[in-house]
């Protein structure tokens, strides 16, 4: 098993005729994924890597069953493309586009909530169910060497570090089940918390590794969820090891522009590395102080569990 995508997933690529979209299509096919259709307005009737291109999502859906859409759409047009996919009833949207205006994302996230679909991204490098299927640019080129099939679920706020995190696991002898690059914007379609139930249900996943960053509250929400589960006598049983970057950034104070007083009353002292590490530790998450320690710590933890 794996989460979100597997060998059976039928993909649509929105923006398939662009350079990045075409490249992703080629790679996704190479990894054994089923890319059933592509969409680029005005390019209907063309083919990319043998995949038929349609002018609209609606048209594509008239001819194909689609489980997931990968979006390589310029930021200015991303909102319309996301709406098209949601309205079409596609249940998983992997948005790769960077720099989507936050108000456009706010609209899409409200719509997705109403319609019951799921967005991973924006600014996601992709999703990779290792050895089965991938969505997006993740594991492209030589970086595929970083991944091996296995039992660790990986969630990362950085696209590049989703690869490096998988690499240190591979080097510690730990393969990965599904690797999710979830983006790091103020408004994210899905965060750590959203994937936890999926990984819990996935019988192949034995442990989770997280690459977190300063800013936002995704790490704090994860910690609160774990604590709440523990308090209700229903602890999350799969071990979690995390690396939270930001020591340097905080030391030289290059944090994102603060949202000022209003931000402070919503987020309080959340958002700093110190706070994230503190609450994650309280929630039972093991923290790696340097990144490559993630592999060793996860291995130790899993060995500890099997000895018990």
């Amino acid at each position: 098993m794996s989460i979100l995508i597997d060998k059976k997933t039928r993909f649509l690529i929105q923006g398939i005729t662009g350079k990045q979209g075409t490249r992703a299509c080629h790679e996704m096919q190479e990894f054994g994924g089923k890319v059933v259709a592509g969409v680029t307005p005005g390019k209907g009737g063309e083919q990319v890597e043998g995949v038929p291109v349609y002018n609209t999502v609606k048209e594509a859906l008239q001819h194909h069953h689609v489980d997931a859409s990968v979006l390589y759409i310029p930021p200015k047009f991303a909102k319309e493309a996301i709406i098209e996919a949601i309205e079409g009833g596609i249940s998983l949207l992997n948005v790769v586009t960077e720099n989507i205006p936050i108000h456009d994302m706010a609209y899409c996230l409200a719509l997705v909530k109403q319609k019951g679909a799921r967005i991973v991204g924006a600014c996601s490098a992709g999703i990779y169910s290792v050895g089965k299927a991938k969505s997006g640019s993740i594991a492209g080129g030589k970086s595929r060497l970083a991944f091996t099939p296995g039992t660790i679920g990986v969630m990362s706020r950085s696209g590049g570090m989703s690869c490096e995190t998988s690499l240190v696991l591979t080097q510690a002898g730990l393969g990965q089940s599904t690797v999710v690059s979830m983006g790091s914007d103020v408004l994210m379609g899905s965060t750590f918390l959203d994937f936890l139930p999926d990984f819990e249900k996935d019988s192949e996943t034995e442990g989770l590794v997280i690459f977190g960053e300063i800013g936002g509250t995704a790490e704090e929400e994860l910690a609160a969820y774990l604590i709440q589960r523990r308090q209700s006598g229903n602890s999350y049983l799969k071990p979690i090891v995390a690396f939270i970057s930001g020591k340097f950034a905080e030391a030289i104070n290059v944090q994102n522009v603060s949202l000022g007083h209003a931000g402070a009353i919503i987020e309080g002292n959340k958002g700093t590395r110190k706070h994230k590490v503190k609450v994650l530790k309280e929630a039972g998450v093991i923290i790696a102080e340097v990144h490559h320690d993630l592999g060793r710590l996860m291995k130790q933890t899993l060995n500890g569990i099997s000895e018990r």
Binding site: G141, K142, E213, V257, H261, A262, V290
Partner: protein, 406 residues
């Protein structure tokens, strides 16, 4: 991008939110003649202006001129003051707080209202949280009657205040949407003796990703800290050539290890590891997105333009499409020119990395450079550890100070 008070007020004005009568002063000679109760408000990006003495009561234009001469062009709260607002003092019976911002965990805008305004809203939250009302706004529907009515009903019987407040909240939300704000707040929103409402101060943070469609444009923010010559030179590399990114972010630091990183997440992880292992960076910079050789070459020159270096660290994750031979070729050109004697640690992998490795190892042999080349088999942060150890050895051999002994 954060706006100053007078800029944020331009947004409020555009949607018709009432403001006090005020004049923007950028030169003392431009102060109109007046007499009466006024304030000089220094235009800063940082908060806490009032407490620090940035709002000054004034009685006439002579006084104003003298103070503006003292203040304009001078540093206040680590910022150089370029603008001062001259605001007429008005009588106020009561002050509210109102703000709208995106909440990362609820994934929607929040409307925040406090019946106590004019002070730090954090303090109100701490001392009397019951005075603060927070409403989640469904972006599909916008600000609805149901979002506003709890605010209106809880405080005032006065019909005029109610209707004015309702109007201002609607206008503020419209302003938040129309100008692609990440956050906008009015604090205080004051009630006058005639029960009119007026915005006395405002803060706004704009979404840089929506810059292209904003009707009102504001000048780019320059750093509050003055850029160093190296920082200016590095930024220029990126401005001169649109291909890839190199030098867009550059920080001059006071350590002894020169840094060339690639990729956002990777660069931060490298710097974190450097700190964890006790290393001191001489700079921070990043290149990515497959920049041409010349851009990396120029950036390398700036990175190495620093006395007393004890190492050069070049690192990134496995690249998807950045040409490793091309980019490291840019580094090599500078190394060939300068032939530094300190250790150079490289951890790079990706397209054409075999060629890059060959090239650098050849230079190592021919020029006697102390190059340590690693590919993906060496974890990124492990390579940082190698850099620190080699740098410490280098300093020890040369009897240099600041060797970390562990």
């Amino acid at each position: 991008m954060k706006l100053k008070e007078f800029e944020a007020k331009k947004l409020l004005q555009a949607v018709g939110i009432p403001l006090t009568q005020s004049t923007l002063i950028t030169s003392p000679s431009a102060i109109p003649s007046f007499q009466g109760d006024y304030f000089l408000k220094l235009q800063t990006l940082a908060g806490g202006r009032g407490k620090a003495g940035g709002i000054i009561p004034i009685k006439n234009s002579e006084q104003a001129k003298t103070r503006c001469q003292q203040l304009l062009g001078h540093v206040f709260l680590n910022e150089t003051i370029h603008e001062i607002l001259l605001d007429k003092k008005i009588d106020v019976t009561r002050e509210f707080y109102v703000g709208i911002l995106f909440d990362t965990s609820r994934k929607c805008p929040l409307l925040i209202f406090s019946e106590e305004g004019g002070v730090d809203i954090e303090k109100v939250k701490a001392s009397s949280p019951e005075k603060i009302i927070i409403r989640e706004i469904n972006y599909l529907h916008g600000l609805k009657e149901a979002d506003i009515s709890p605010i209106l009903s809880s405080f005032y019987a006065d019909k005029k205040i109610k209707s004015r407040l309702k109007e201002i909240l609607s206008k503020l939300y419209a302003c938040f949407v129309r100008f692609d704000c990440k956050m906008i707040e009015i604090n205080p929103l004051a009630i006058t003796p005639k029960n009119d409402l007026v915005a006395l101060d405002a803060v706004a943070v704009l979404d840089d990703d929506a810059h292209y469609r904003r009707e009102i444009q504001f000048p780019e923010r320059t750093d509050t800290r003055k850029a160093t010559p190296r920082e200016i030179a590095a930024h220029q590399i990126d401005k001169d050539d649109y291909r890839g990114v190199a030098g867009k972010t550059f920080l001059d630091l006071d350590g002894d290890i020169a840094i060339l990183t690639s990729g956002g997440g990777a660069s931060m992880t490298i710097m974190d590891a450097l700190m964890e292992y006790g290393g001191k960076p001489a700079n921070f910079t990043e290149y990515s997105g497959d920049p041409p050789k010349e851009k990396v070459e120029k950036l390398t020159r700036i990175v190495l333009d620093c006395p007393h270096l004890s190492g050069l660290l070049i690192g990134g994750v496995i690249a998807n499409f950045t040409n490793i031979a091309e980019t490291l070729g840019g580094v090599l050109t500078v190394l060939q020119e300068r032939k530094p004697d300190f250790p150079i640690v490289i951890r790079r992998a990706g397209p054409h990395d075999e060629e890059a490795k060959r090239m650098l190892l050849q230079a190592k042999k021919e020029l006697g450079l102390d190059i340590h080349y690693f590919d993906e088999k060496m974890p990124l942060t492990q390579a940082v550890n190698v850099m620190i150890e080699l740098s410490n050895q280098y300093k020890k051999q040369r009897g240099l100070a600041h060797v970390h002994s562990h």
